[in-house]
Amino acid sequence: MNQISLHLWLIPILPLLGAAINGLCGGRLSRHAVAAIGVAFCGTAFLLVLFVLSHFFALQLPHIETYGTWLRAGAFHADYGFYLDELSMIMLLVVTGVGLLIHIYSVGYMWEEGGFHRFFCYLNLFMFFMLVLVLAHNYLVMFIGWEGVGLASYLLIGFWFTRDSAASAGKKAFIVNRIGDFGFLIALFLLIKHFGSLTFSEVFGSISHLPSETAGAGLLTTVSILLLLGATGKSAQIPLYVWLPDAMEGPTPVSALIHAATMVTAGVYMVARSHAIFDRSPTTLTVVAVIGTLTAFYAATIAIAQTDIKKVLAYSTISQLGYMFLACGVAAYSAAIFHLMTHAFFKGLLFLAAGSVIHAIGGEQDMHRMGGLRRMTPWTFWTMTAATFAITGVPGFAGFFSKDEILWQASRVNMALWGLGEFTAFLTSFYMFRLWFLTFFGHYRGTTTSINEGDKAGQGPGLLAINKSRTGPVAEPEHHPIHESPKVMLIPLIILAMLSVAGGWVNIGKNFEKFLEPVFRAGPTAYTLTETATQAGKTIGGATGTELLFTLTSVLAAALGFLLALLLYKIQPDLPARIAASFRGLYTAVLNKYYVDELFSILLVKPLLAGSRKILWQGVDRRIIDAAVNDTAEGARRVSDSLRHMQSGNLRSYAGWVALGAAVVIAYMIWVALA
């Protein structure tokens, strides 16, 4: 299709090589060598992406490269191939850029940990699969990446595998994702059955002749709903969000890279990539928008009560992903990708900064044992402040632009979606400033026994403490004077902080949307609302009056959140406890995440296990089938017993007899043949 080849395959292969080297012989290498390999292979991939970017505007898009057939059966075949357009270009930049920064940060964060080479092996492996996911030119190659990032996530969540909670969290993430993958697979089967192909250009080409399914649910609605099920698994949306909070058991850089910046956005990417399908199903789009909005709101309510700093950020991630789904649901895919990008910057930064805080105070994650840290860890404080301002939507910061865009687009479709989104923005601002005040202001509330208490409180011991307890006796807290993190961790923080401030400016004058416009054009008969939205994009500055009003509302919501947090956690710090006491039932429910995990366990997991054990295995298998067989066998055994008496002395040389017997038979046959 294109004359020049950019050798896109090199981009994912490089991290894979890094993973292979560190995985196979990292144990014999020094930490310096392991870190150098891990960072260098990821860094080279980033440089290659920059190289591709430098050629990007000269390319005929989409630029497709294929490298041979993967599998074939009958008329169906799937090729290894990569697909470069504006959308995958942005994803490449985000994944390799943020990925590289987090690799560098990890060198500092993980330096003291056991399994250092294992960590970088997994991290590079993740980069490989994530890059395959965003570059794929058909759904099956995308599925390689899709499952592969799930594997990397499983490995990294369970990195500290001696801890049961970490091992369980990894497994839970994988299994819940598999439920989503089930939907994804069925969608692929439908596409194969009806279009005979899984290649994006062919599938979307065939679809472009089909009308929008406004009259009722049809093939495209089914396909898109099934794809959506896959997306809700990967991107932690209702109903499959349950794995993400548990995933915080992984090392903090992992939470930043996989569970905030990149992997969890794969669902959003997939929906955006498949917009031709979604555009043609108003039903699905509505479902996407509703799921997104509800998830955004629901997760935000849980975030306000969490005391573990990483759990707050985890629920915040679910909530922000909800915004992206909301954007997709109102067919504002550019806005979704825009928020995906800014979110990668500021949420990645929030996690890294939280990691820096945790690192500084010896592994404590409970915000009630933090406080006053702004003086002791100034760089962390200022970078985290930038990220907090970005996520809450302080004007001028990255999140302000992207979230505003989403809410503005939502308001054009349905005011209820907008209203709930706006209220979620208020909640977001509240829980983020709550985190900010609790962590950095007031007095340091940590005590010498904090680590042990954390244990008892069921929060799980802090990260660094785990390592100590694995490698030796728990270090006394005095050995951990509160300290700022090393430069290798601070530099990524500073770069991400700059991006969190300035990352939103790319869409001033709708430049970002214009860049992505060729990807999302399509959808001619799609959806009347799409047209409105596209028109809005075209008449830039046309509706500035109304848009400004909506922007002001957003700013007001953020400000209210800030003020409430200021009141509760700075001015009147004893008030939250009193409020919690007077709404004890509600508070406990929220604190325990509405008991969804417990419900799953009682309604699903336990009956399934008990049923399999008592009814299927011990019942059907043993009492019914085997009992019948054993009666026969019992009779037969009596016969064989008598047979055995005849040859009891020969048991030892059974083998010889068999060989001899076989030889005789063969000899007879040869004799007959010759005769």
């Binding site: 594997l151 089967f189 399999s612």
Partner: protein, 505 residues
Amino acid sequence: MSTTDLNSWILTLVTFIPLGGAVLLIFVPRRDRDIRVFALVTSLLAFILSLHLPAHFEHSQTGFQFEIDQPWIASPNIHYHMGVDGFSMWLVLLTTFLSPLCVLISWHSVRDRVKEFFILLLIMQTTLIGVFTSLDLFLFYFFWEATLIPMALLIGVFGHARRVYAAVKFFLYTMIASVFMLAAILWLYAKVGSFDLIAVEDAIRKGQVSGFGTAAPWLFLGFFVAFAVKVPLFPVHTWLPDAHVEAPTAGSVLLAGVLLKMGTYGMLRFNLGLFPEQSYANRSWIVALALVGIIYGALVAMVQPNMKKLIAYSSISHLGFVVLGIFSFTSSGLNGAMFVMLAHGVSTGALFMLAGIIHERRHTYEIREFGGLAKPMPTYAAFFLFIVLSSLGLPLLNGFVGEFLVLAGAFRAQAVYGIVGASGVIWSACYLLWMYQRVFFGKVTSEINSNLPDLGGVERAALWPAAAMALVMGVAPLIWLSSIAPAVENTLVPFARTVANVVKQ
């Protein structure tokens, strides 16, 4: 010897070299080390020779290749007729590939009656290969039954505590079922006057078999019952968990890796080949049993306290995919079914080797006896994880390709088949990862586990080829699919008309 000469003799060589080795082994003095080396060299020789098959396989040619057809016994009319197509060739290679690994994995674990053990193992290999290469029904039946003896002895003599019970159960279960096949074969011989598969098939297609119309449903069932027990298909599967748990490691590897595939191979070759109409007419209940097997096997696997039983039930689930693919009568389904057979042979074979390795150290398969093993045995844990991932169908590893094709085919035949079958991807993740967690993660709970030695050299040598094969099969499945496809198309010819509507849409 020129290639053409070798082409006609290669199957004979590959089939009987292990038996020849076994016979020679009788005369090798009882020095255990020599016996092991001899067995290894013999099985490696068979493997290297078997590589001749894919190297000289003609993809454009349909039908059987490397044929040899010598009249053997005049009355009854038995031919020494061998030949392979894309199906059987790869099953032969699977057998020759797994056999050296079986020798390696038994290197240290078999200490008593070493000589008898390796003699049985080599005889086993010949009988298994013979099943796949025979094109004469008598020869086929001979090898088919002959596999029982070495396997029953491997279980009964070299197995664990309840070995006699398991061996007898295995023997009777499959023996009784085979009698129905024998009856069907004899009926066909009586009517056609030949045991030759091609002659019989020809006669049936041309309608030259008198009384075939009334007998066909029964003949179909006769073959099917024998194969269904071997697969094993729900509800005739209960011999398998017992046989596996009691079998020595190498026995389990060959049992799961190759012996079960005799059943699915038989369905492809005989049920679909000789009785296409009956196969198609009976597809609904067979697919239903396959689907039940997929889910049932997985659910029961999930609650097994014994690692080897868990793997055994997972085999029932995986073999369900094979039957589902075969009876979907789609190109994708059959290709996939064949690929699952091979992939399952490699992955489950490796899983049983891994289970054997831990049994050798701890003399138990009980999952609760373990925990935290990733700490003392990191290499073992890494191999185990890799194979678990290949077994649960991670893309780019071998398990995915076959399952995907089977499910795509099943979905095409009937959406609900694909949907129910696809739920297997969830279950396999559940039981495998849960088992992996309980064995390898968490803290080391018992003192004895904390000092377990990691993999030794011989164990690595047995596991590396399997792991590498799992990867190659996942990344470049066309190596296999390109020669399987012609056999699939050939098999589907009689269905072209019957199934036209299904295949089209």
